[in-house]
Structures are given as structure tokens and as C-alpha cells.
């Protein structure tokens, strides 16, 4: 096992072990906040894979979480009805994940020749179209009334859900780590830096763009399925652009293009958003100012600040030593 992989596993296992003790320290409400935070961690790291590493500025990531959630919930609802027996939830979760990945593959294929603002607008249009579809096809999705979903565990205690999200987050972190450490990581970054040069260097840019869309959408879909079977209700509200803006803020605050940054940013913003709940929509103004400040003064985000801070401390001589 090389040094970087060893560091990753030690950090992930260490964090997971500490977080595994959270149910002993936190009350139900705060455990719920952290569980939702883990949902956003998966969305943030998977969007960072697509936008940060592969340079594909998609604004449909929140919609892929909803695609996964609705796919899983609808399969459970109609599949169980057709079979006359409840489908195991793990099958619908796998289906929702694969379905979101396939939709991501399709959207990636449509957007192959689009870059920057054109890609952003097209993906945003996809997300809005999906939201409108969910709202208008209320006979299938129940629209704004909301679709009740089967819960993963028959309890109102968030503890078992928290452990599921913790495991899912560790799994997604590991997947992203393996992708970016493999040759695929080189191709995605080359694609981001200069698509034409990447082609000329032998990189099949069509294939790797599709891969980035598929992998990130599948992970978002996976998070969406778990969220659907945790909250017990799906509505079109989280498919609004606000949700995408939150993911963006989390990734930029944490550190776009860094491995740990988006995960740190997601948890930080989630906790901060809960702490500022009384200020309602003013929170978004604060987040916008924060993003502006980070983009202006410290583009590497919270993770960059932490890394540079540690490096600075290490480089300072210990007092008293010669």
C-alpha cells in the first residue's frame, strides 16, 4: 500500500471511528443534522469529481439526487404493488443509483460538445425540466403533495440511519479516491485543463466526460435514494436551484478541486446553516458573501487554509530550540 493510500485509509477510518461515537454524545436533533450533513458530503464530493476534477460545470447535481430518490421510491411503490409483496429496499436503492447513473450518462452524451456557460445552462435546464415533470405528473409522483416513501428502518431514532449514511459516505470517498489516484484521474484533470490538448495526448475525451457524468450522477443518485428512505417523503422542492446553490457553496467554501475540501465544506455549511436557522433566507446572503470572499482572497477554501496553516506551524522553529 503506498503512502497516499495509507494516509487516506488512516484518515477515513479514524474519522469514521470518531463519528461512530456521535450517537453517544449528540441528541436526536443534532444527529439528524449530521446525518443530513453526510448526505451533502456525498453530493459535494461527487460534484467535485465532475466539476472540480473533470471541469464539467454541471448545475444538475441536485436533480440527480432526486432522480435516484424518485426512481427508488417509485420502483418500491409500483413494483411492490405489481408483485404483491414489498420489494427489498436494497434492490430499489441499487436501481435508483444505476438509474441516476444512466440518466447522467445520457445527459453527459447530450452535452459532449458544450463547455462552460453552455454546459451550465443546459444542465440547469435539465434539472428544471425534471422538477416540472415531477410537479406536473402528479398521478405518478404526487407532485407538490409529496410522495411517501418506505423507511429504511422502522424507527424515528436517527441513529441507524446515521450509521448507514456514515458507511455510504466512506464508500463514496473511497470510490472518488480510487478514481482520482488511477489513470482516470489524470485523464479527467487533463480534460479539465485543456480538452484539445488532452485529445492530442491520446485521451479519449468523449469516454472520460461520459464517465465523469455517470460516476458523479450515480453517487448523487445513491445519496438521493438513502435520503428518500430516511426522510420518508419526496417533494419537488429540493430540485429547485437553491439546492444546487447550496452544493456549490459547500464545495467552494471547502475547496474546489481538493479531495477533502468539499467534504469539510459540506459539513461546515450544514452545521452553520442549522446554527443560523433563525435567520431564514438571510443565510443564503451570508453564504454568498462567504463564497465571494473565498473566491477573492483564498480560492483553496477552508481545506487550503487548514493545510497552509499546518504547513506554517510545522515550518516555525520550536521556541527555545536553536
Amino acid at each position: 500500500m503506498n503512502k497516499t493510500r495509507k494516509q487516506f485509509f488512516l484518515t477515513t477510518v479514524g474519522l469514521a471511528l470518531v463519528m461512530a461515537l456521535f450517537p453517544m454524545w449528540l441528541g436526536e436533533f443534532y444527529l439528524h443534522v449530521v446525518t443530513i450533513g453526510l448526505f451533502y458530503v456525498i453530493l459535494a464530493i461527487s460534484w467535485n469529481l465532475l466539476a472540480g476534477y473533470a471541469g464539467q460545470l454541471s448545475l444538475a447535481h441536485h436533480a440527480f439526487a432526486a432522480v435516484g430518490g424518485y426512481a427508488s421510491a417509485l420502483l418500491f411503490l409500483y413494483g411492490s404493488e405489481a408483485l404483491g409483496t414489498p420489494l427489498p429496499l436494497w434492490t430499489t436503492i441499487i436501481f435508483g443509483t444505476i438509474f441516476a447513473g444512466l440518466v447522467g450518462y445520457g445527459l453527459g452524451s447530450v452535452c459532449l460538445n458544450m463547455r462552460r456557460i453552455y454546459l451550465a445552462i443546459t444542465t440547469w435546464a435539465f434539472a428544471e425540466s425534471f422538477r416540472l415533470w415531477v410537479m406536473s405528473e402528479y398521478e405518478i409522483t404526487r407532485g407538490d403533495l409529496g410522495l411517501s416513501t418506505e423507511l429504511l428502518f422502522d424507527t424515528s431514532d436517527p441513529t441507524p440511519f446515521f450509521y448507514v449514511f456514515l458507511g455510504a459516505t466512506a464508500l463514496c470517498l473511497w470510490i472518488v479516491f480510487e478514481i482520482i489516484r488511477s489513470p482516470a484521474g489524470f485523464y479527467l484533470r487533463a480534460l479539465r485543463d485543456d480538452e484539445e490538448a488532452a485529445q492530442a495526448m491520446g485521451v479519449d475525451t468523449v469516454r472520460w466526460k461520459r464517465f465523469a457524468f455517470t460516476a458523479s450522477s450515480a453517487m448523487a443518485g445513491f445519496a438521493g435514494t438513502l435520503q428518500a428512505h430516511y426522510i420518508g417523503m419526496l417533494t419537488p422542492t429540493p430540485i429547485k436551484f437553491n439546492e444546487m446553490a447550496i452544493i456549490l457553496v459547500m464545495v467552494i467554501a471547502g475547496g474546489l478541486r481538493s479531495f477533502w475540501g468539499p467534504a469539510i465544506g459540506a459539513m461546515f455549511i450544514q452545521v452553520l446553516a442549522e446554527a443560523l436557522r433563525d435567520y431564514a433566507e438571510y443565510r443564503m446572503v451570508l453564504f454568498a458573501v462567504m463564497v465571494l470572499a473565498i473566491m477573492r482572497f483564498y480560492r483553496e477554501g477552508i481545506f487550503g487554509m487548514m493545510r497552509d496553516g499546518v504547513a506554517k506551524l510545522r515550518s516555525q522553529p520550536i521556541r527555545g530550540s536553536t
Binding site: 489524470f186 485521451v203 475525451t205
Partner: protein, 250 residues
């Protein structure tokens, strides 16, 4: 047999004819120059040979087989590499990582041992191109000349490189780096048998490197031969100096 045969190649951008009926043939192991006044279609030709532009008509044959429908990455995998006039590097990646991209993309093996061997090869090629001391820097931190050198060094990482297309490799760089690039080209040509097609405005460098030179003007090939031959060709003189100047000179 020619390593590269171009037959009646043409490229139109709407009403603009950038290249018209270009035919040329390059033998294996040759260093061929491609010169011509600004806007004559040299870079468009390079882009068609590398697969970045789809020709309006005509054919490109590599080792006798048509490659005109192949995408750029397949052409690279078959041993055709190119550099760009304005260096196109992966700016947020280190010099060493830039070297690894073509190496990984053009090889089928991906075992840790093989990747380690590629890393060693990258170090060796960076030393060859005198870039070993900057291997840890981000590509965006390099000077203009170092960027051009990195483009060349990166090309050497392609598995089975046979044909190197270079677009203005000597533009805007100092004499020391220019010499390094020329030495690298001659070394690759002599020791590895790599064929070169070099687009350049630097006549002294072209004269030193290329046995045969092709001259383009307004999208067409107007002369072909040694540098001395083409330099005395009336059509070439007219293309470079204009009809009136050519007439007054003569």
C-alpha cells in the same frame, strides 16, 4: 512506402478556403519542413493531420492506411504526436503529471510496476529535455521556452511514437532553448528514427534541420525541395515578398 501521404486535402470554413487540394508525401525518418507566409494554412493542415479538424475533402494515409476518419486520440495511440504553436499544457498539473498523461493514455498496461517504469521514463525524458529541475512545478509556472520544451518532452512519452508534428516549435523562445529543441529533434531522428513535420517561420532552424521543405501559399502547396531550391523559387519569392516586390527585386 511513405509514412504519411496527404492527397487533395481541403478545408473550408464557410466561404473561407483555408487549405485547397494539398498533396504531399513524407518518407519514414525524414525531417520535413512546412513553411509559408502567415495565414497560408499551415496550422490548419497540422490540425487536420492530428485529427482536430475534419477535412472538407481529401485523404490522409498513415503507413498506407487512411486515418481521415479516426479521432485524435486513436491517431496518437498509433504513434502520431503533435505540439501546438501556443503551448497547450495541463496548467494545473505538475510537469511530471503532464508527462504521464500521454504515457498512460497510449499504453494498455496499467499495473503499478508499469506505472513506476513510466515514471522513470518521464524522469529520463525530462532530463533529456533539460526540464528535470522543474519536474515538481505546476506547468503554469514554466517560462515560454520551458513550456515548448515540455510539449516536446511530453510527446516522447507516447508509446511507439513514429511521426512528430511540430507547430512553430521555435516561436518566441531564446537561443539556448532553441538549440536544446534542435538537438532533441536531431537526437530523436537519428537514434529513434522518428519522422518530423515541422511548421516554422525560423528559416535558419528549418535550413539546419530539414532535408526537404514544402512551401504553402493561400492554402496550396507551391514549392517543394531543399531549402536552397525553394528559396530561389520565383513563386516562393512572390508569396513571401508580394508580386510587386518580387518584380522590383528581379
Amino acid at each position: 512506402m511513405s509514412i504519411l501521404q496527404v492527397n487533395n486535402l481541403a478545408k473550408h470554413f464557410g466561404g473561407l478556403v483555408a487549405v485547397k487540394d494539398l498533396t504531399l508525401s513524407i518518407k519514414p525518418g525524414e525531417i520535413r519542413g512546412l513553411i509559408g507566409p502567415n495565414g497560408c494554412g499551415k496550422t490548419t493542415t497540422m490540425n487536420m493531420l492530428a485529427g482536430l479538424y475534419k477535412p472538407t475533402r481529401g485523404d490522409v494515409r498513415y503507413h498506407g492506411k487512411s486515418i481521415v476518419k479516426l479521432p485524435p486520440h486513436i491517431r496518437t495511440a498509433q504513434g502520431i504526436m503533435r505540439t501546438f504553436q501556443i503551448p497547450k499544457l495541463f496548467s494545473e498539473m505538475t510537469v511530471e503529471e503532464n508527462m504521464m498523461v500521454p504515457a498512460l493514455a497510449t499504453s494498455t498496461e496499467k499495473t503499478p510496476e508499469f506505472i513506476e517504469a513510466l515514471e522513470n521514463k518521464a524522469t529520463e525524458k525530462l532530463t533529456f529535455c533539460k526540464l528535470d529541475h522543474v519536474s515538481h512545478l505546476l506547468a503554469k509556472q514554466l517560462s515560454g521556452g520551458q513550456r515548448m520544451l515540455l510539449q516536446i518532452a511530453r510527446g516522447l512519452m507516447v508509446e511507439g511514437l513514429e511521426l512528430f508534428l511540430m507547430d512553430e516549435p521555435f516561436a518566441g523562445i531564446n537561443q539556448v532553448i532553441k538549440e536544446t529543441i534542435m538537438d532533441a529533434i536531431m537526437e530523436m531522428n537519428d537514434n529513434q528514427g522518428i519522422t518530423f513535420l515541422i511548421v516554422s517561420h525560423e528559416m535558419s532552424s528549418v535550413r539546419r534541420l530539414c532535408q526537404t521543405v514544402c512551401v504553402m501559399h493561400e492554402g496550396s502547396l507551391i514549392a517543394e525541395g531543399s531549402m536552397t531550391e525553394v528559396a530561389n523559387d520565383p513563386l516562393v519569392i512572390e508569396a513571401y515578398l508580394g508580386g510587386q516586390n518580387a518584380a522590383s527585386d528581379s
